[in-house]
Every structure is written in structure tokens, then in C-alpha cells.
């Protein structure tokens, strides 16, 4: 428990400092920071609908945040969670209408499997390119994001387009394939619980299994991993496929629980926001959950803030970005561990003792 509090201290402090800085800026512009904060909080969790909406918004961020955290632990800079989520959604959205007549549970499993497989293929492709052809995964995942977006666009304008509509969207998925909404019109569903279970599984996998151990070692010292016989290619492809599968699951639950059909704009950029989520969580899978909730709440509250105070919702992005900058700066001062992964050029030589 103490360890948990210690782990959460810095990210929490960074978020508070970021909010404080923005409050100062608001005050300087003549707005009341308190009133704005109150509207933001009300929009994020002021009532039942707002609260459940925050949960629903945070859910894909948890999936994608886990995807990013897993890959980053292996120093695989997966910028492609967005594309992997889209492909996962595409696979689930394409399968969904065909599941009419299925019992509910197998249909949900089929939807999730489709999403995971779609995402795993997309992420695994980048991993394979990295492992076999030494293609930088930053570039390949960004490029695959564009391809995924165009693929989705083509699908909803073409083969998957609902017959009667003229609107670029797919047919609705079968009723059996929809995740139950408990208290409509609120969007409360089981996906968030599923995401939390996955976060626990990722935590266990990273820190207790051999593959997770080897992945973390690989991310921190590739050469030493090779010297000790780690299966580098398999770890690279596996981690990227797992990362993609997690993001793809996020896409599938979004289709299954919220939209029930494919749209061109299925992702507002969750895969990118998830990078920020994972960094605030300092790549801890369990930390991704609160970080995603924070970001989901800020996103959700920002719209109420816009309605009430006429403040652009982009202000929230400023808060999010500031929080990350503050956190990075704090870690720099403390010489924190994972930060070194971002500056791998220089070998850490924190030799304290004297050794002549």
C-alpha cells in the first residue's frame, strides 16, 4: 500500500501543478479559475450521467494506455495504438452484423476476439518489420495509422456501408453482439471492468512472468539481453502483437458497447492520447487506470466547461501536456529510472563509489 502511494505521489503532484499553472493563466486572463474548475468538475462527475460518461470515455484510453505501456517497456515506441484500435474496431464492426442469431456470450467473445486479432495483426506487422527488417517501429506504426484510417474510410464508404443511408457508416451489429448497458441512457457497461482486469493481468505479466521480465530487460539493454540468450525477435513481435491486441480490444468494445456500428471517425485520437496516459502512469499497467480516468474526466468536463464558460476545450489538452512536462522534469531532477529509456544514447554512469 505504501509502495502504491509512493508510486502515485509524483504523477498526482504533477497533475496538481499543471492544473495550478492553468488556473494562474485563467486568472491572468480575467476568468475565475474556481468557477471554471467547478464547471469542469461538474461536467466530469457532477451527476450520474456525467460520471458514467467519464467512465465510458476513459475506457478506450485504458485499453490503448495498456497497449502503449507494454510496448514502451520493451523500448518499442508504439505510436500506432490508434491504427491498431481502428483495425480492431473494423474487424469487430465487420463481424458484428453477421452474429444475429448467436447467443449473447459467444457473440461478445467473437467480437472481442475479432478486435484483438485485428489489432494484433496490425501491431504484430510493425513488430515483424522491426525484428526481421530492422524498420524503426516509430515510423512503421505512424504509417500504419494512416493506412488503418484509410482502410476504415474505404470500408464504410464501400463494402461495409449500410444499404439505406447514404451516410458513411456500417450496418448495425447484431443485438447479441452488443454489450449490455445497465442504466440507459447512461452508458455504463462492463467494458471498464474488463479493462481493469486486463490492467491487472498486464501488471502480473510484465513483473512476474519470464516473458515480461525479458521484455523489460530488452527495453533497457538490448545487447545484454542478447548476451543472456533472450529471444529478441520473438519478444519484439510478441510484445507488438500483444500491444496491438489490447488496442484492438479497445476498438471492439467501443463498437460493441457504444456506437454499435462503424463510423469514419471511430477514434478521436485515443491512441495518441494514450501515449500521454501511459507516460503519466509511468508505464505502470495499474497506473494506467487512474491516469485514463483523469484524462477521461478532463475530456468529458471540458465540454461542460465550454458550454458554461465559453472556454475552448483545448485548455484541457494544455493541462494534460503540462502534467507530462512537469512529471518529466521532476523525474529528471530525481534521475528516475524509466526516463533513461528515452535518452538511451548515453550509457548511464551513475557510479557513486570510487573505483580505481
Amino acid at each position: 500500500m505504501n509502495a502504491l502511494i509512493r508510486a502515485a505521489r509524483r504523477p498526482a503532484a504533477a497533475s496538481v501543478i499543471a492544473l495550478g499553472a492553468v488556473a494562474l493563466a485563467l486568472a491572468a486572463l480575467g476568468a475565475s479559475p474556481l468557477a471554471v474548475a467547478a464547471d469542469l468538475a461538474a461536467g466530469a462527475c457532477g451527476n450520474w450521467i456525467a460520471f458514467t460518461d467519464t467512465l465510458a470515455r476513459a475506457t478506450p484510453l485504458v485499453f490503448c494506455g495498456l497497449a502503449v505501456a507494454i510496448a514502451f517497456h520493451g523500448a518499442l515506441w508504439n505510436i500506432g495504438a490508434d491504427g491498431q484500435l481502428v483495425v480492431g474496431a473494423l474487424a469487430a464492426g465487420a463481424l458484428g452484423p453477421a452474429l444475429s442469431g448467436w447467443p449473447h456470450a459467444p457473440a461478445i467473445v467473437a467480437m472481442l476476439a475479432a478486435g484483438a486479432i485485428g489489432g494484433a495483426l496490425w501491431g504484430g506487422l510493425a513488430g515483424w518489420l522491426r525484428a526481421r527488417r530492422n524498420v524503426n517501429e516509430v515510423i512503421s506504426t505512424i504509417m500504419l495509422n494512416f493506412i488503418a484510417a484509410q482502410l476504415l474510410s474505404w470500408a464504410v464508404h464501400g463494402p461495409l456501408m449500410a444499404p439505406a443511408g447514404g451516410f458513411p457508416a456500417s450496418r448495425k451489429i447484431a443485438a447479441a453482439a452488443r454489450l449490455h448497458l445497465y442504466f440507459p441512457p447512461s452508458r455504463l457497461n462492463l467494458a471498464m471492468a474488463f479493462a481493469v482486469v486486463l490492467a491487472c493481468a498486464c501488471q502480473l505479466g510484465l513483473f512476474r512472468t519470464v516473458a515480461g521480465f525479458q521484455l523489460r530487460a530488452l527495453g533497457r539493454n538490448r545487447r545484454a539481453s542478447a548476451f543472456f540468450g533472450a529471444p529478441i525477435a520473438r519478444l519484439t513481435v510478441g510484445a507488438m502483437a500483444l500491444s496491438g491486441a489490447l488496442a484492438g480490444l479497445g476498438g471492439a468494445v467501443q463498437i460493441s458497447a457504444i456506437t454499435h456500428r462503424l463510423y469514419e471517425t471511430i477514434s478521436p485520437g485515443w491512441g495518441y492520447e494514450a501515449i500521454a496516459v501511459a507516460l503519466i502512469a509511468r508505464l505502470s499497467p495499474l497506473g494506467v487506470v487512474p491516469a485514463a480516468l483523469l484524462f477521461g474526466a478532463l475530456d468529458n468536463g471540458s465540454q461542460a466547461m465550454q458550454r458554461a464558460d465559453g472556454i475552448s476545450p483545448e485548455l484541457v489538452y494544455v493541462v494534460q501536456a503540462l502534467a507530462i512536462l512537469v512529471l518529466l522534469a521532476c523525474d529528471a531532477a530525481a534521475g528516475g529510472g524509466w526516463r533513461e529509456m528515452f535518452y538511451r544514447g548515453a550509457p548511464a554512469s551513475a557510479e557513486e563509489g570510487d573505483d580505481a
Partner: protein
């Protein structure tokens, strides 16, 4: 004159330097000797401005140096240091590295060519070679990097040149030239400070010697009046009796079947044979040595035995695969190849697959059990880590890191240990203890392949001795067991 007055420096609760007065005069080579943790590197770091002293002052030619000034304004302060582990921009060419040093050149090809010309002149004066044009530092051998560092330090035209264990990676032939270069620098009126644990070297090259022990200066004396035995006693007290080794059993070959066999192993890159039909057998109970100037195929041989590179021709038995653990490798560059610095010690211990296998139950790693095992290992090998098994590897000093690498290799209980520069960064007593462990391992039926540039170490430890030169391996005869003769073979005379 370079002078310190009552320098005090603490690291946490450790008093690393305790009122140190140090004096080095112009036109003299001054050797600073002492055990691990005696405070030599700390003193050098303070003189070079990389560390601040808690108290005391540094004077150069009578003028007080503000703390840290030597690091901020290397040209003005004119104190240059060469460190034990090369501090170069790994991903840049060596010319670019030097351009960023005292030559202050730009990055255009013409300017870099000019840098290369000046550097080659300086290196020629010092008497050693530089890498081929535009070589990336990361691709250079360790010895080449040390040479680059020295040339870079000279590029500042320093009044004081400090060298922290600079010769530990140089070949005998280069060493002579290098020591001659130091004498030339002395003749030019510079102050040369050399940190070393090799007593013979200190006696051979230095004019005066300062001995440190546990953060204090215990003696300062002219080299002409000192003997190795006397210096050793001042440094560490007498070497404990149990660490004195009987000479190795000559060249007799045990009868058991080899634990490691290489048959005409060949490795080529870009048409060049890095390993050229190497044949070698190491039997249980045997310590076999491979001597050679760095960069003659040793790194490739180690990578081959770790299972990282594949042979182009020939055969290795057993098939190298670190995941199976018949062979444990202690790499030369432990920070790059042997440790994950950001991870904890117990996690670093689990990098070795055979050790890891002991701490897995139902597919999960048992962290607690691994930590307590790691703690006992740290204890047994005298590895000092403030936070115990949970300390990050980066928090260890170099000597402790090396001991940890050795401890891990032994803990893996392999049939064969392949060690490249086994005692890198260790002083006399620590090296003797490591040698003792390795001998015990061999006496218990283990096979050891010791790859080193340190001829004294090889002659002391090894039964059979090979020399590697330009990728070829030559077995030496009993008559060759002599540093001068081996030096000739290492230079390729026998190939």
C-alpha cells in the same frame, strides 16, 4: 604546481576523501595508487571539476581554482582528464568527437579532415595509431577508444593531464610507446598524474608516488626510493596468505573429454575473416588463456560463445546458446553487455537463465526468494550495495559491478566460464579474490576460458596459453611463457 589542501568529500555516510593534501610538480609524472575505494577516482573527479569538494581547495600554480571550473572551462583551467570508462559520443565518428574537444572545429568534411590531420600528428607524437577515417566510435575497440580519449585530452593542450587507469586496456607493445609518450609530456613541463593499481607500472614510469588508503594519503615518496613490496604493504597491508597462489600446473592436459570445443571456427564480415579457423578445446578442470591485443577477434569469439553471432564455417560444441546455460559468459564491457543498469541487482541476477529457472513456480517469478538468494550472493562475494538486492545495478561502483558479474556467472553453475577481461577495474586484492574463485571453480571440475590483455594475469592463472592475432589462434609452447616472447606473438610474429 597542482596542489590540493584538506579536500573533504562525502558520499552519504561514506567519507570518500578525508583531508587530502596532494601535490604534483611540473615536469613530473606523479602516480596515484591505492585500493578500490581508496578515493583515487574521487580525487581525480574533483581536480577535473566533475565533482565538488565538501571542503578544501585546489590550487594550480598558486592560483585557487573555483569548484567545477575545470569542467566548465577546460581551455582556461587546462586540466584534462582521461577516465577509466571512455566518455565519448558513441554514435559519432572519432573525428567529430575530437572536433567537440579542444580542436573546436565545425562538422564540415573539410574541417573534420583538418581535425584528423592534427589528431594524427598528436597521436604520432604520443606514438599510437588512430582508427580509420570516419569510423564510428561505437565500432571501435575499447583500446582504440582509450587512445581517442587521450588524444582528445591532449587537444586541450593541458597544463595538467590526468589519466585514470589508462593502461589497463593497452597492449604491451602499445604500453611502452605510451609510457614513452608520457615522458615526453613531462619533458614539455606538463604535470602528468596517472592513477593506477599496477605497482610495476607506477614504479617504472613515475617520478613520485602518492599512496592512498581509505580516503587518506598515507605516503608520498620518490619512486626511486620505493619498492613494489613496500607500496603494496602501504596500499593494502600484506596480501592475505590464502590469496597467494601456487603457480599453475604447467601445460599438462587433463584426460577428460572437453567441455568446450571449437573446430575450425570461422567468422567473416565484409570479406574479412574476424575469426580464422580457430580450433580449441577446454577440458574440465582446466583454465585456458587467450592473450592478444584488443580487437584481434576476442570480442567476436566471446559473442560467438554467447550465441549472438553464427559461424560461417566450422563447429562449436556445445552449440552456443545462453538460454541453456552450459556456458556462462563474463563480457568485457559489463555495462553494455552484462548488466541492465536500470534494473535491480536481483533482476540482473535473473538474466542468467539457469539462475532464473530456480526461481520460477507455475510460470511466475518468485521475487522474494530471488532477492534473498541475491542477498546471500552479495554477502558471499563482498559486493557492497547500499540498498542490497533492490539496489539498481547503476548504483554499484565499477569494481562491485565486476564482482557481481563474476558472482552471477558462478551462481549459474555452468560447465564452462568464458571470461573476457575478468578483473577489469579490480585492484590487486579484489583481483586475487576473483582469481581464487575461478580457480576453485576449475578445481571443482569447471572449464575456464580466460581472454585477457593482461599477460601477468594469464601467466599466473592459466595452464595452456593461446595467442590470438588477426583472428588466428596460436597455441604457445612452454618456452613462450614470457611476456616479451608473448608480446611478439601478439604482434603477429607467429602468424
Amino acid at each position: 604546481m597542482l596542489e590540493t589542501r584538506s579536500i573533504v568529500r562525502r558520499f552519504g555516510r561514506t567519507l570518500a576523501l578525508d583531508r587530502v593534501d596532494f601535490r604534483a610538480r611540473p615536469g613530473e609524472i606523479h602516480a596515484l595508487i591505492g585500493e578500490n575505494g581508496a578515493g583515487k577516482s574521487t580525487l581525480v573527479n574533483i581536480l577535473a571539476g566533475r565533482l565538488r569538494a565538501d571542503a578544501g581547495e585546489v590550487l594550480l600554480d598558486g592560483a585557487r581554482l573555483p569548484a567545477g571550473s575545470a569542467a566548465r572551462h577546460p581551455r582556461r583551467a587546462r586540466i584534462a582528464a582521461v577516465y577509466q570508462s571512455p566518455m565519448l559520443f558513441e554514435r559519432m565518428t572519432w573525428e567529430e568527437n575530437l572536433a567537440l574537444g579542444g580542436y573546436r572545429a565545425g562538422a564540415s568534411p573539410r574541417e573534420l579532415d583538418a581535425v584528423a590531420v592534427r589528431a594524427r600528428t598528436a597521436a604520432a607524437q604520443a606514438g599510437f595509431a588512430l582508427p580509420p577515417p570516419r569510423a564510428i566510435v561505437a565500432d571501435c575497440s575499447v583500446a582504440a577508444r582509450v587512445r581517442l580519449e587521450i588524444v582528445r585530452a591532449l587537444s586541450f593542450d593541458p597544463r595538467v593531464l590526468m589519466l585514470d587507469e589508462p593502461t589497463s586496456l593497452l597492449a604491451p607493445a602499445e604500453l611502452e610507446i605510451f609510457l614513452a609518450a608520457l615522458r615526453r609530456l613531462r619533458a614539455a613541463g606538463r604535470i602528468v598524474v596517472i592513477v593506477t593499481h599496477k605497482l610495476a607500472e607506477a614504479l617504472a614510469v613515475a617520478d613520485r608516488i602518492t599512496v592512498m588508503r581509505r580516503g587518506r594519503v598515507v605516503a608520498e615518496l620518490p619512486a626511486a626510493h620505493a619498492s613494489a613490496a613496500e607500496l603494496a604493504r602501504m596500499m593494502i597491508g600484506a596480501l592475505p596468505e590464502e590469496l597467494r597462489m601456487p603457480p599453475p600446473a604447467g601445460a599438462e592436459t587433463p584426460a577428460a573429454a572437453p567441455a568446450l570445443t571449437l573446430e575450425r571456427a570461422t567468422l567473416a564480415r565484409d570479406g574479412r575473416r574476424l575469426l580464422d579457423e580457430i580450433s580449441l578445446a577446454v577440458r574440465p578442470g582446466e583454465i585456458v588463456g587467450v592473450a592478444g591485443v584488443d580487437g584481434n577477434g576476442q570480442a567476436e569469439l566471446v559473442e560467438l560463445l554467447a550465441g549472438i553471432v553464427r559461424l560461417d564455417a566450422g563447429r562449436v560444441t556445445p552449440v552456443p546458446d545462453a538460454a541453456h546455460g552450459a556456458v556462462a559468459v563474463i563480457p568485457q564491457n559489463r555495462d553494455r553487455d552484462g548488466l541492465v543498469l536500470e534494473m535491480t541487482l536481483w533482476e540482473n541476477l535473473l538474466l542468467a537463465a539457469p539462475v532464473r529457472a530456480r526461481f520460477i513456480r507455475r510460470g511466475l517469478i518468485r521475487g522474494r526468494a530471488a532477492q534473498s538468494f541475491c542477498a546471500s550472493l552479495l554477502d558471499r562475494f563482498g559486493i557492497r550495495a547500499a540498498a542490497g538486492p533492490a539496489a539498481s545495478a547503476a548504483a554499484l561502483s565499477g569494481g562491485n559491478r565486476q564482482r557481481f558479474a563474476v558472482a552471477r556467472a558462478l551462481a549459474a553453475a555452468p560447465r564452462v566460464i568464458v571470461a573476457h577481461d575478468l578483473c577489469r577495474g579490480l585492484d590487486l586484492a579484489a583481483a586475487a579474490r576473483v582469481h581464487r574463485r575461478i580457480r576453485d571453480f576449475a578445481a571443482a571440475g569447471g572449464a575456464v576460458l580466460l581472454i585477457s590483455t593482461d599477460l601477468d594475469e594469464l601467466l599466473e592463472c592459466c595452464g595452456r596459453l593461446f595467442v590470438i592475432a588477426r583472428g588466428r589462434l596460436i597455441e604457445t609452447a612452454a618456452a613462450d611463457r614470457d611476456p616479451a616472447r608473448l608480446g611478439l606473438l601478439m604482434a603477429g610474429a607467429g602468424a
